[in-house]
């Protein structure tokens, strides 16, 4: 019976990590449902972007208040997690505060003291975050797509963080030995006063309970990630690495179209020629995207990375003037549909079974797609380098090239370009008339 806590701990840790691994595998499987694109160029620049944007939070601080609060929570999260190492060793081996055995008391004190200060800062920042969402009601947290799960998810994350920080402090405050060292209990010494007068046994029970709840909470939170917008804490790193490096204004070239255009313009190519021997007959490419499988894996990674902060939507000229388009909703819809497709595959022994649904129309309406001015404000605003515009463009491509479903005025415009080389019905021969007018 002596080893019961250790065994329980090992089992909890194993289940937590195993389930998390399973989720990560599913995540990777889903992202890989996207079209394969190779992103192997300019590695040094990619690393730099990741260091600056994800690790360095360079785009977060564009909005100073949210940016500073976020940096506190982010730093706190990373640094306090060093403490998890000690907790895991203690839990598995049965030691208590193993750090004290390997580190001089004052070094250990400095570490724990830092964690305690950060814990309080995180606690306060998280409360401010909660107030911004629920009391101040910042508009971008109350757009139409931010109801039910997205709204609750955001608050659950904040509650999780508050509880974890509180448990960490309580665990230290009720640890009689730790308090008697009087080193590193920079915050918990005051909390310890609230518990003064309680018998040592009771304190021990509270300390153990807080310790267990804290580590179990961490494991649960780890597994909550996959279901939550909070995935950004992991995916912001690969996402900023794989982000677009070309100027924002450049839309990608569709190679499949280039091949056809070249064929149309080259008099020497026989369009009816059979493919060279040994090559498989070419499958006609689908132009643009009507569902998540038509998007690239980078775009799907974008969707999982989105933490629904809404900076994109708050900068979007269409959204600001009351149109239905919200770049954040484009990302949320893409993720929701991808999840649906993933579950479909899980339920059908690894093969996607046609479900009569798609990203277009079932999730993203045409009205939203046609409201975009391609101004790149959403791309510029995203703190983790997500590109909602690329999804909007790929879906427009599908509408126009596969469905011929552009708005009538745009069809007129395109007919004009085809016939007279200008979006208006003017004669190309008159292009230089202005010089004599």
């Amino acid at each position: 019976m002596e080893y019961l806590p250790n065994i329980c701990f090992a089992i909890a840790l194993f289940i937590g990590i195993a389930y998390f691994t399973r989720n990560v595998k599913k995540l990777i499987r889903n992202i890989k449902l996207g079209l394969d694109v190779e992103v192997v160029d300019q590695k040094p620049l990619r690393w730099k972007n990741m260091l600056m944007v994800a690790l360095g939070q360079s785009k977060m601080v564009k909005r100073p208040i949210a940016g500073m609060l976020h940096i506190i929570v982010y730093l706190g999260f990373i640094i306090i997690n060093i403490e998890i190492l000690e907790i895991v060793i203690d839990g598995l081996v049965g030691t208590h505060r193993v750090g004290l055995k390997v580190l001089p008391v004052h070094v250990y004190g400095v570490l724990i003291g830092t964690f305690e200060i950060l814990a309080v800062l995180v606690f306060v920042a998280v409360i401010v975050f909660w107030l911004r969402r629920n009391t101040i009601k910042l508009q971008r947290f109350w757009n139409s797509e931010m109801t039910s799960w997205p709204k609750n998810d955001a608050n659950y994350i904040l509650y999780f963080e508050m509880v974890l920080m509180a448990l960490f402090i309580v665990m230290n405050a009720t640890d009689v030995n730790f308090q008697s060292l009087n080193s590193g209990n920079i915050v918990s010494q005051f909390v310890a006063d609230w518990f003064s007068g309680l018998p040592e046994n009771t304190l021990h029970v509270i300390e153990r309970t807080a310790w267990w709840l804290h580590i179990l909470g961490v494991l649960i939170f780890l597994n909550y990630l996959y279901f939550s917008k909070h995935l950004h804490i992991l995916l912001a790193f690969p996402n900023t690495y794989y982000a677009k490096l070309t100027p924002n204004g450049k839309l990608n070239n569709l190679e499949s179209v280039t091949n056809e255009v070249k064929m149309m313009l080259d008099p020497n190519i026989d369009p009816f020629a059979s493919p060279p021997e040994g090559t498989s007959p070419e499958v006609p490419a689908k132009f643009g995207a009507s569902d998540v499988q038509d998007l690239s894996w980078v775009q799907l990674l974008n969707a999982y990375t989105c933490t629904e902060c809404g900076r994109c939507t708050s900068e979007c000229p269409a959204n600001q003037t009351g149109k239905k388009l919200s770049p954040r909703k484009i990302m949320m819809d893409t993720r929701d549909r991808l999840e649906e497709v993933g579950k479909n595959i899980d339920a059908n022994k690894g093969v996607f079974k046609e479900d009569g649904k798609q990203l277009l129309d079932n999730y993203i309406s045409r009205e939203e797609l046609w409201a975009c001015t391609t101004c790149n404000a959403c791309v510029e605003a995203c703190p983790v380098s997500i590109d909602p515009l690329s999804i909007i463009m790929d879906m427009r491509r599908y509408l126009v090239m596969e469905q011929s479903a552009a708005p009538a005025e745009l069809n007129n415009m395109m007919t004009n370009i085809e016939n007279n080389g200008a979006p208006w019905p003017y004669n190309q021969m008159d292009r230089l008339n202005w010089k004599n007018e």
């Binding site: 100027p247 070239n253 569709l254 255009v261 005025e409 370009i417 085809e418 208006w424």
Partner: protein, 263 residues
């Protein structure tokens, strides 16, 4: 008005066995839109003043394909692009200047994938370089001391990170450059991009150009400076919608410099 401007075409240059220093890509708006034609002429006058040997394609020029691409019609875009690139390459064009940020962005960023590689400049960048080389002088003239705000075109600013050239030119007019709250990388779109110019907006509670014009008017500006023929149209319409056309003018940077010197 029937003043004859000297505007040589590439065909004429080639006939003389010469190569211009730069090709002026006029663009559809600059060729056909009555308002934008004034910008084209103002820019040509500046080119003459700086003694720039330039040429246009004239009737050989065709839409870059930008509105088609942004509508989603990659076929039409690439047909336009490939045809234009063939023409440009046959004339051995090396550098291109244009007063339209959409043409600028498309030729600069989207033509290389299809075999068109040129040095492409927006006219504000080109004018700035003429100024730096001492080939062009800018005088404030009637704009001296006026309040001018600059509306960043999305396809010049966010799309290509050109923020300073137009502003430096405005400052050379000895005018007071006032910034809107949303400027440079945070600049608000005029509402025309992504082929919106050619269609009615989706249902909403306001037009984008009105929102942007209100922001410009909030600076108490006397002139809204633009660097894009489409922004120019949208902002002009916005000023009309706010019934301020008597007080506030919308002018392209090229027009500002040219008008200041009564060219």
């Amino acid at each position: 008005m029937s003043e004859e401007l000297k505007v040589p075409t590439m065909a004429e240059y080639v006939a003389q066995g010469k190569q211009p220093e730069v090709l002026f890509w006029v663009g559809c708006a600059g060729s056909f839109d009555d308002r934008a034609k004034k910008i084209t002429k103002a820019f040509v006058k500046l080119l003459h003043k700086a003694k720039v040997e330039f040429a246009v394609l004239g009737a050989e020029e065709s839409c870059t394909g930008d509105p088609a691409k942004r509508t989603g019609n990659e076929f039409l875009f690439q047909m336009q692009a490939v045809t234009n690139i063939e023409l440009l390459n046959s004339y051995q064009i090396k550098s291109i200047v244009t007063a339209c940020p959409h043409c600028f962005n498309t030729i600069k960023n989207e033509y290389p994938d299809l075999g068109g590689n040129y040095e492409v400049m927006h006219h504000t960048q080109f004018l700035k370089s003429l100024l730096d080389e001492g080939r062009l002088t800018i005088d404030g003239g009637k704009f001296k001391g006026k309040r001018i705000t600059f509306h960043d075109p999305c396809y010049l600013g966010r799309a290509n990170k050109v923020y300073e050239a137009p502003r430096e030119l405005i400052e050379k007019l000895e005018a007071e450059l006032v910034e809107m709250k949303r400027c440079r990388q945070n600049g608000l779109c005029c509402g025309a991009g992504g082929a919106q110019m050619f269609k009615e907006p989706e249902k909403g509670d306001k037009d984008v150009n009105v929102e942007r014009t209100e922001e410009a008017l909030n600076t108490n500006t006397e002139i809204i400076a633009a660097g894009c023929p489409f922004c120019n149209t949208m902002m002009t319409d916005g000023v009309k919608a706010k019934e301020k056309e008597g007080e506030v003018e919308v002018l392209d940077i090229a027009e500002l410099i040219s008008n200041a010197q009564d060219l």
